[in-house]
Symmetry: D2
């Protein structure tokens, strides 16, 4: 997300605007945790993961009173336009401020890639590379034993990481919350693969589907294969951002400032069909994000 912050600050500076950063997200907005961001403040932040402004959950901002205070703080500080980076929750917070007269543009930043109307969000590509790198390391240790690895990745309600990482890493099975799975079928495939000479298989499971441990136990019981569990957890949130994510974030951050200058009142800078497009929050909230069934089918073919 640092790349998006940096791009917004540079784009604003190019237009002779002053940029104020708000630390700790909406919580910092309520506490007036402001700091001026000039070009120097964003030098050399592009290669770091996380965000220099830190993030925080803020239950207080979920109330109308909190949102009133937030809008008032922005106005009294003389802030004319707000860029918020985050997921749909963050955008809803932004929309609440927009209703109170603040111009708000959202930038999609969530590794889960569960925001509608955008093909991808900042952080998703980096997370995929982390999962795929882990899968490579696991494959390196292939032994003569038939062994099955169950790898649990992020995704409580969405299987985008599991599906795309599974496609990229060649997972033998991919379990996502959106599509029911059949354990009998999974175990049959494992046995098929073993008969064909595969020394190991990887089952990639989104955390929202099942515990990797429970799943591993069940697979072991049914196939007799030695089963091992890896839980990647927050590992997936960190790491130096990938080139793709930095370019995406830079483009979105710069576009957000452009959009504010062009009068955007409540919308998000999305990436669709290879371009950065503005989408009104209202349309975004009404849409839903689906897994690409054709990619799921492709993953099944590749897992033969």
């Amino acid at each position: 997300m640092n790349a998006a912050i940096r791009a917004a600050v540079h784009q604003a500076a190019d237009r002779r605007l002053t940029t104020i950063g708000i630390k700790h997200g909406f919580q910092g907005l309520l506490e007036r945790d402001f700091l001026e961001l000039d070009l120097c403040s964003v030098d050399g932040i592009i290669q770091h993961g996380g965000t220099v402004l830190r993030s925080a959950r803020c239950d207080c901002f979920l109330t109308a009173a909190g949102q009133d205070l937030g809008a008032a703080n922005l106005k009294s500080e003389g802030i004319e336009g707000l860029v918020v980076i985050g997921g749909e929750g963050t955008f809803r917070g932004g929309a609440a401020l927009a209703k109170r007269g603040i111009k708000v543009v959202g930038v999609p930043g969530t590794i889960d890639n569960d925001i509608p109307c955008t093909d991808t969000s900042i952080g998703f590509d980096t997370a995929l590379n982390t999962v795929v790198d882990a899968m490579n390391k696991i494959r390196d240790t292939a032994s003569a034993h038939e062994r099955t690895f169950v790898v649990e990745v992020m995704g409580r309600a969405s299987g985008h990481i599991a599906l795309m990482a599974g496609l990229a890493g060649g997972a033998e099975s991919i379990l996502v919350p959106e599509i029911p799975f059949d354990l009998v079928d999974i175990c049959e495939r494992l046995q098929c693969g073993a008969e064909r000479g595969k020394t190991h298989s990887i089952i990639l499971v989104a955390e929202g589907v099942a515990s990797a441990y429970t799943l591993g136990e069940e697979v072991k019981k049914r196939t007799g294969f030695d089963t091992r569990v890896i839980v990647l957890g927050h590992l997936q949130r960190g790491g130096a951002p990938s080139a793709f994510d930095r370019i995406l974030a830079s483009r979105m951050g710069a576009r957000a400032v452009e959009a504010l200058l062009a009068g955007e009142r409540a919308g998000a800078a999305t990436f669709a069909a290879g371009r950065i497009e503005m989408v009104p929050f209202s349309r975004l909230f009404a849409a839903s994000k689906r897994l690409d069934q054709s990619l799921y089918d492709l993953a099944a073919v590749l897992a033969l």
Copy 2:
């Protein structure tokens, strides 16, 4: 490219087709260097760089006689459709075979990303990540001295790597073959940055523009800054493929087989506007690939 080979083999197996691999590209075609590729042959190749089939230049195939022999070899082997992976030269070879009655589909694979009609080619994202990783390492050593690094990247005739890596890595200047540069302006920026407190700057130069050494000498003479040169060369061709490249390659490889089955005679599986699309070779050869001027301008704003 292994991911594309693997996907083509799996897609073909799913349709009960037999796949024959041709080693060493067109040279192997002339020498009938065929080997059957079944599912087992492509197990565990997805995480490796390069290609299991190896590649080779083949001057002989540039002649009509060579192309006649190639087509004859394919026919006598009973090969009904051919998937070629590579750049525009490879596609032209494929088109020559297509004229001789072979169904051919091209898959764009070149780190230079200089193939028209496709937003990106297999290998480009991986190369970008390698360059950006190098830029991170260079920035780590920032010292109190004003120091300028000149980093030479691939691109004899095209500046896609330089531009996109420069955008992602936050290069202070980006020199590409497509756009003339002004050394006076570059040196002024360096001095500006130094005055603002930047302890170091990176000039990213595509190899087709100028030698990094010559450029470094010139910058040193004009600014007095300590200037160091890094030449990444073939480093950019290797490395474990990124998640993005593997997914792209898997989709393109599978689509190439689909297209052959659907009767495609001479076209390429491209990636445009977020989708895999078939483009006839004739249209692709007539088109030209341009740098995205808006991204070049964005890079200039980010380099402020």
Copy 3:
């Protein structure tokens, strides 16, 4: 381990000896799964994790009958000296063959680093780097919340990975099987750190100590901090070997062949005090490997 195999083959070739590889370890020995290894067979294997010869468990070789057969197979194949790579179990197998008249040299290869008489084993440095890289990624996502990460690493009976990775990665607490831990003390430290402004803490736990999930629950109950679990599992066994491991493996592999030529009958090539030294199996089996208490104490000081 590939680097050790490559070094042994090269060293042998330099002395005009023929090298035979045994696939799948002792199981392959019983099944006469031999293949000649010349210089070509080990070209380009040094950068890959795992081993080209594959490994396998072999219960049958634990019996005297199995060991008799193994020795007979070696003799009938004309193999005059054997290099075994692995942990103490592998060395005991080697010692059993030595008793049957085979010259055997062991090369320590286990990521657990639990082999006595050697400061480090092949694979340990690579595993450490994998764990430390994971810790970096976890730290990147530090948020304004007090958050505690419990990271489970390998080590059923030994805490070498946990201790050294904890030292390198700056873990706030390190739990190893060799030293009892006090949960009250751990929770107090976490609270101390939080009061000082630490936004997150990492508890590194060897798998032999406790389940990361149980531990995480307990910590959460006592401190109220948001606790997240990462289980690295077999991730730690893979990855491109580090420079240190390759140099160590190359030295040990070459030395093993030298030692056989010099008449060694039953010993291991160890790394102690910065040098490769031969240690008789008998001495190695009688010794025990301890955690370095001074490093454990240093880790505690660094975790202040």
Copy 4:
């Protein structure tokens, strides 16, 4: 080096001492660029390359007047002991202060690993891993052509990086300043390798030996092989520090503080025979660092 700073600060805090950091090395000492370092200031720095205190060359400190001022500044600030991190030049600066009554301990930190009396210096292992990673990437692109890569690494006067990285990465030839090389012999080996089926070779050359470009031209002229050049330059100075380097730095930094408390007046914390040992500056300056001939010979055997 951050790990060494962090360890020194923690060790001092554990002994209830106050730590003052001096920014920009000796230059900062002359300019009284002091800042107090408490535990918080060194939280989360361990995973970053470079140094939080920045470094700088300081010609002024080479004079007696400069050294007098430096000692006076330390005394007036109430600093009772000084830890300096760097190469032999830094240690000589430290020794000059020691003569003026300041207790000084040196910590060896240079990627060249050219400091006598210590087996390795902080940063060397990280640099090796960077070079070896580059070599892996180069090997990935092996083609059917005979191709030779000339990789220039750091080392104006010392070949430690070239030798050890060449050993780890399996270089076909290693050129170091300490040992004369024979181009005829190198070209013969290349041709031998090609005849045996090697598709590519890597010549690793320390920058002090020859320009990679000149060498590449010469090799091409003699062998006819396609020759490509990579110049790694400052890439080798950056990157997240390896586990080995962090542990080494932590141990050395803590030991430096221990040594000052124990009354050390002018010595360095070295790593020899697997242990951290104090060596008086006088002995260190009188010694010289040699390449390990046995490792050079081993590299030649492995390059067969």
